[in-house]
């Protein structure tokens, strides 16, 4: 499972419950809206019923006002009649408007309106006119006729009431059905969604859990691969370091062989001359020369011994001594490259270090400087080496600083960033490309640093290599393998 799939599952696990809740909310809203509409219709029926009751009351008021007037002939009874008469039309118009879609009720209301109009026009108004004219209204037939008209009106009101009552009951029934349906639908949706979410989540969690297990296995394998490749890298690095050390040793061995073979050749020739007969004067001269040549061999041999004397822990070493030994072994190389080496080593500069490693570093750096100076063009190659001690300051502890300066053509700017990279060389097949890389490793192990400043301008070309070493290095032993 990749990250995109994992994110999709997370999105689904978040979205599904939200969608379910939205569906439930929508259903609930829709059902409630239906129920509310039903309730509104019930309220409407209630209102119409009370309106119909009001109409009945108005008619009753008119009838009793008419009777009062009929009996007493007093006009005050007619005021109720007239008042109810005005209200009656407005109430009937309202009822008619409300029952536009209900044909039965419309007929009922029309019947009522007609019945009332009959009673009003055919009975009530003639009675009022007769009483006003001072006539008699106690005729039974006439009053029975009025009663029959009023009975019809009452029957019509009863029909309207019954119709509204039936409607109300139906709507209550409908409302109850809706509430039951809503409850059932909500329970069903909740159950369905719950099961769906549960199954989906279970399925997705299984996928995530299986992917997690796979990831753990893959990570485990990767970790093992990384460990193996790191081990391989370490072995390669160790062998590269050993190779570079061998390359430095090889160069030094060649220099040493040269330094020893030359005086030995002279001594061997001198011995031959002595044996084959020489005058006393010649003999003395030959012996002096042989002694001086042998002293040179001894000196070289001492420097060589110092090169391979190694300790397991840092020991106090005098940088002046080390630099002088390295310079002695390289003397011939300077001669060969036509380079003059000048030193400013006024006093002992003692620090704790691994002497053979420092010799490797200085052999490397001085040999680079000499080769650079040897290619300086018309100007005679010159290198200058100085070393001095410095006291501890706020930002760094006490130590030694060594400058190796040459007047070569300088290092081109585009090459400088690569100088400390392994296998980078400007010497073609003659260089391993490891010298500066290894030197930097050794110097940082000694709590120090190598800095290179270079100038390629024709007037002031040259390179300054500055090596800083700590007086008491916090050495992690074994980071740079030692010569056996």
């Amino acid at each position: 499972m990749n990250l995109a799939q994992f994110h999709r599952i997370l999105r689904q696990a978040f979205l599904l419950p939200v969608v379910a809740l939205l569906i439930m909310a929508g259903t609930l809203y829709w059902q409630l809206r239906g129920a509310n509409e039903t309730v509104r219709l019930i309220q409407e029926a209630d209102f119409r019923i009370s309106q119909t009751i009001g109409v009945g009351k108005l008619i009753a008021d008119q009838e009793s006002g008419l009777r009062g007037y009929e009996v007493t002939g007093d006009d005050r009874f007619l005021s109720d009649f007239r008042q109810a008469e005005g209200h009656f039309q407005a109430q009937m118009d309202s009822l008619t408007a409300a029952t536009r879609d209900d044909a039965t009720q419309k007929t009922n209301i029309e019947d009522l309106r007609n019945g009332y109009q009959n009673w009003h026009d055919a009975f009530a108004l003639p009675i009022i006119a007769t009483v006003k004219a001072g006539g008699q209204t106690s005729d039974i037939t006439l009053n029975l006729y009025g009663k029959s008209l009023m009975d019809q009106v009452r029957q019509d009101i009863g029909g309207i009431m019954t119709h509204y009552g039936t409607q109300r009951s139906e709507r209550i029934q409908q409302w109850q059905t809706q509430v039951r349906n809503t409850t059932e639908a909500l329970i069903a949706i909740a159950l369905g969604m719950g099961i769906l979410i549960g199954m989906f989540t279970r399925n997705r969690l299984r996928a995530v859990s299986s992917a997690y297990r796979t990831s753990l296995e893959v990570l485990g394998r990767r970790a093992e691969e990384i460990y193996q490749s790191e081990q391989q890298l370490r072995r390669t690095q160790d062998s590269l370091l050993a190779n570079e050390k061998l390359a430095v040793s090889g160069r030094l061995a060649a220099a040493i062989a040269h330094e020893i073979h030359n005086p030995l050749d002279s001594v061997s020739n001198l011995l031959y001359l002595l044996r084959t007969g020489a005058t006393e004067e010649e003999s003395r001269q030959f012996i002096d020369m042989a002694e001086s040549e042998l002293a040179r061999v001894t000196q070289i041999s001492r420097a060589m011994l110092g090169l391979y004397r190694e300790s397991r822990a840092p020991v106090p070493v005098d940088l002046k001594e080390i630099l002088e030994e390295v310079l002695l072994l390289m003397e011939h190389r300077f001669h060969e490259l036509n380079v003059t080496a000048r030193t400013e080593l006024p006093e002992q500069v003692v620090i704790d270090a691994f002497p053979s490693e420092l010799r490797q570093v200085f052999t490397n750096l001085i040999s680079n400087a000499a080769e650079a100076a040897g290619k300086g063009g018309e100007v005679r190659g010159e290198i200058r080496i100085d070393a001095s001690h410095f006291q501890a300051s706020a930002d760094k502890p006490a130590g030694a600083i060594i400058h190796i300066v040459d007047n070569g053509t300088g290092i081109p700017e585009e090459v400088r960033p690569q100088l400390f990279q392994p296998f980078f060389t400007t010497k073609g097949e003659h260089g391993t490309g490891l010298g500066l890389w290894v030197s930097q490793g050794i110097v940082s192990k000694h709590g120090g640093s190598i800095e290179i400043a270079s100038d390629t301008s024709p007037a002031s070309h040259g390179t300054v290599v500055t090596v800083t070493l700590a007086e008491r290095p916090p050495i992690a032993t074994g980071t740079v393998s030692e010569l056996p």
């Binding site: 030995l264 061997s268 011939h332």
Partner: protein, 126 residues
């Protein structure tokens, strides 16, 4: 000194070694010319009737291989004995010379090899 004895040109930047070699060769009856480096040896080689060259390899300015190359162009038939303090010189250098030996093998070896080379090359051939 016999005028028609072989003339040897010795080139070496080691002054003591050069001086001792000159004494040794003169003691053996050779005539000896010396030069301290390649560039100064070439005019001598061109002007003098040199019979054989004893050439050091490692020298400032121009190494023995380069000097031998120049000499081969000037007088190709003059034998050159390359003498070096280094062991295992590259073949492109040793192929330029007639013989190659390491310093310190001793005077008898040097003298014998010189004699052999001169026998192959009649004196005055250059």
């Amino acid at each position: 000194m016999v005028q028609n004895s072989p003339l040897i040109l010795c080139i070496d930047d080691e002054p003591v070694g050069l001086k001792v070699r000159k004494i040794l060769l003169e003691r053996e009856g050779y005539r000896v010319l010396t030069a301290a480096d390649g560039p100064s040896s070439l005019p001598l080689f061109e002007q003098e009737p040199v019979d054989i060259v004893v050439l050091d390899y490692s020298m400032p300015g121009m190494h023995g291989g380069e000097v031998a190359g120049h000499m081969r162009r000037i007088k190709p038939r003059v034998p050159i004995l390359l003498l070096s303090a280094y062991v295992g010189l590259p073949s492109e250098v040793t192929s330029l010379v007639d013989l190659y030996m390491t310093k310190g093998e001793g005077a008898p070896v040097l003298l014998r090899k010189l004699e052999n080379l001169l026998l192959r090359q009649p004196v005055g051939a250059s």
